[in-house]
């Protein structure tokens, strides 16, 4: 009796206390950005954003496990391919934000749009006693013997894109380069952070293919590292933002996407050292215009994913 009463009272309380609107955001890092966007959005609209933050893999695994009863309204991933896949399975809602007008065409789609963009780069420890590398191939030279790390393409979507991009730009030359790097003692310790940490401490001298914005941020905080984008070009990794078709709050979800693409939202994105998705919002670092971007045929590459990873494992990891 008492228990029933308490339960009813508690439910009533929850009903009263619940804000008018709440949406749930599943997002890949950086976590500080998601929190800042959530706070800014609430200040503007009164809608609370509950944030779940993990790696792209964790976000996707959670979406997959919740498929029977989805919990998220908006998803931001670090892998463009994941958005294409969710769309192909009919899980996304069509929405093109009016604020996306200034986002370049190749970074938007009727069902998803870039939040921000990172590029793949070399990260070099300036105290390592090695010559400053200028090109990807420099890291295969004797000066970098046993001193190079690379994120695992199987665990980092961006590193996969780099392998695919180099193949698109150089053909078989890309595989020869990777084989040279492997012969030069390059290690592949895991996802992005695992590849970067040995370079920060100086155990290794350079990362081949690091996600750049994290390192820009660390260099700004005084780490002795430099982010180098080869003149021959690199690939970019736009971070898709999408609304799930199953959302119970489409209006609030659309308003959130609008906010992220607003001046204020894009400024918050820029503060993380990513390139903002909108071409008219300045970034803290070189933007797309200053980068030679290797174009990758996403469809063709996605279809060959297993083949590329298997070849990478064979050429670089020897298995």
């Amino acid at each position: 009796m008492l228990r029933t009463f308490t339960l009813t009272a508690a439910l009533a309380l929850v009903a009263v206390a619940a804000p008018a609107q709440t949406i749930t955001l599943y997002t890949a890092g950086p976590g500080g950005l998601a929190d800042a966007l959530a706070e800014g959005f609430r200040a503007q609209t009164g809608t609370t954003v509950n944030v779940f933050q993990g790696t792209t893999g964790q976000v996707m695994a959670r979406l997959e496990a919740e498929a029977a009863n989805p919990q998220a309204d908006v998803v931001i991933s670090a892998s463009w391919g994941s958005a294409r896949d969710l769309h192909a399975r009919g899980l996304l809602m069509e929405y093109l934000s009016p604020n996306a007008a200034m986002v370049p065409d190749f970074l938007k789609h009727p069902f998803y749009v870039a939040q921000g963009i990172s590029a793949l780069a070399m990260v070099w420890n300036t105290n390592s006693g090695t010559p400053r590398p200028a090109e990807w191939a420099d890291l295969a030279g004797p000066a970098f013997r046993d001193l190079v790390t690379m994120p695992d393409p199987a665990q980092s979507g961006a590193a996969f894109d780099l392998v695919a991009g180099l193949e698109a730009a150089m053909g078989e030359g890309a595989w020869a380069l990777l084989a040279d790097l492997a012969a030069n003692g390059m290690i592949v310790p895991g996802p992005n952070a695992a590849a970067l940490n040995p370079v920060l401490q100086g155990a290794k001298a350079a990362v081949f293919g690091a996600v750049d914005y994290i390192s820009y941020g660390q260099a700004a905080k005084g780490e002795t590292i430099e982010v180098i984008v080869p003149a021959s070009g690199t690939v970019i990794a736009p971070r898709p933002m999408m609304i799930l078709a199953s959302t119970a709050n489409p209006d609030a979800a659309k308003a959130f996407v609008d906010y992220v693409l607003s001046d204020e939202g894009q400024r918050l994105v820029a503060e993380t050292w990513m390139m903002p998705a909108r071409a008219d919002v300045p970034g803290l670092r070189p933007g797309i215009a200053e980068t030679r971007v290797i174009e990758v045929d996403e469809d063709a590459v996605a279809a060959r994913r297993d083949e590329i990873i298997a070849r990478f494992n064979k050429v670089v990891l020897g298995r």
Binding site: G31, S82, T224
Partner: protein, 557 residues
Amino acid sequence: MPRAAALMTFAAATALIVLIALPVAFILAQAIFPGFARGSLADPFARLDLLTGNSRLLIQTQNTLMLAGAAMLGSLIFGLPIGVLRGLFRIPGARLWDVVFLIPFLIPPFIAAIAWTMTLQPRGYLFQLAGFDMGRQLFTFAGVAFVMTLNLFPLVYFAVSRSLEGVGSRFAAAARVSGAGPIRAFLLITLPLSIPGIAASLLIVFAMSIEEFGTPAALAARTGFDVLVTGIYTRLSDFPIDLSGAAMGSVILMAMALLAFAVQNWVATRRSYVAQSGKPASLQKARLGVWTVPALMLFALVAAIGVVIPLAAIVATSFMGTISGGLAWDNFDARHYAPIFRAGGRAAQALATSGWLALATALATAAIAAAVAVIVVRGQGRGRQAMDALSVLPNAIPAIVLAVGVILAWNSPFLPVTLYGTTAILLVAYTAILLPYPIRYAVARLRQIGTSLDDAARVAGAAPPRVLAHVLLPLMAPSLIAAMMLVFAIASRELVASIMLAPAGVRTVGTFVFSQFEQGSVQTGMAMSTIAIAVTSTILLAVNLWLARQGGSAMSG
């Protein structure tokens, strides 16, 4: 009154079914039906090719078993000697040592692995201090096994010391009177009587080392040393997500754990290990005399390797302005603590959430474990073995897969109400993941306690509930309390299940630290770890000292 016993059995069975059998059943269903998460039963056994057509599976299985064997051996080397000393002799500062050896559980395995990497790799802390590095040794099979051992050896220490306290010195004294030397008495009497405890702790070490992900992920990837659990995680974090393949891989791990459980069970039950018959025994432990100093030096050595070095690396990293600046006084900087005390109270929220979750988990697991142990060891029902076996499974299932099972079971659209989406779902998952510790410890302990005390109490007119409360529970208390401390320590920093299950907006210590690492602020992650370790170990020390002051005979140990 049989009604009370039936009620207890029913409650314990329900708890095990809801907490463990339910998610396991959903994992099995997911392993068989690839579309299960989306509500489809099409293509059963489509992922079976994973078992038949996978050449690396055999290597991964061999590596997994080798690593588990090495971790068991290592845990014995590190944990057995100090456990024996702690159980049989008066060690100065015994309670303090207990808390010290709980610290490895307070350090998330992936952080311990990072701490060791930053210490031993070229230009790491060892090199900065001593001019040489041990990177070559760390990134090998032995290195991985070494770091994993340091996460696990306290399991053996606690199990052995508590179990030997239960055995006491009475039988050894009888052997001495009969003419046996002290070493002979120990080897032939005391050690064999503590076999259930040792076997139980080794089972947990085995199950944990085949499931543990942080260490192999951080170290083994660089050695090309591939284990089953890394494959399972890849399937769950690598796009496209393969729930079914991960579930199938987990089935192999579950089978391994059940096999190990059967061996352990055979060892522990093929003869009687009853050491407490109810005769009054002196609880005074033997004095070490001149051996006190060497014994303390051994404790200090194990603590230095297992606790001080990783802890020092974590604390040092948290106070470094930049990682590339290295260990230099002008690089000393506390600024990475600032985001923890600012940041809109997020860190405080994470600490509070993890704190109450850990406390609730410790209480819940101990209550269930006490009931299960009494039923398994004292009961007569036919389901006892199943109950016992069921309680081992969570240790063998990678936490991320168990979390998927929990989501599948608790997020079903057919449930009218559910805990999923609330913080309470973390309590459900933590309880399931950590139940094996108190159950293994309590079952092992109860096997050492003869039934004569129960019988005496019954003859004296006590009803079964009274026997449980006044005889069995106090006798199990030392093991249960040791297990509760373990549970509290591990739950306070649990990461993998928390990431998958925490409702959006809720943070725990583990997820907070992890997101700091992901963002590239290694120091802030280490700072949060430092604070969490300091807070948790203070709590555990306070509890330990309070117990010491209670000093009751039942709470000895």
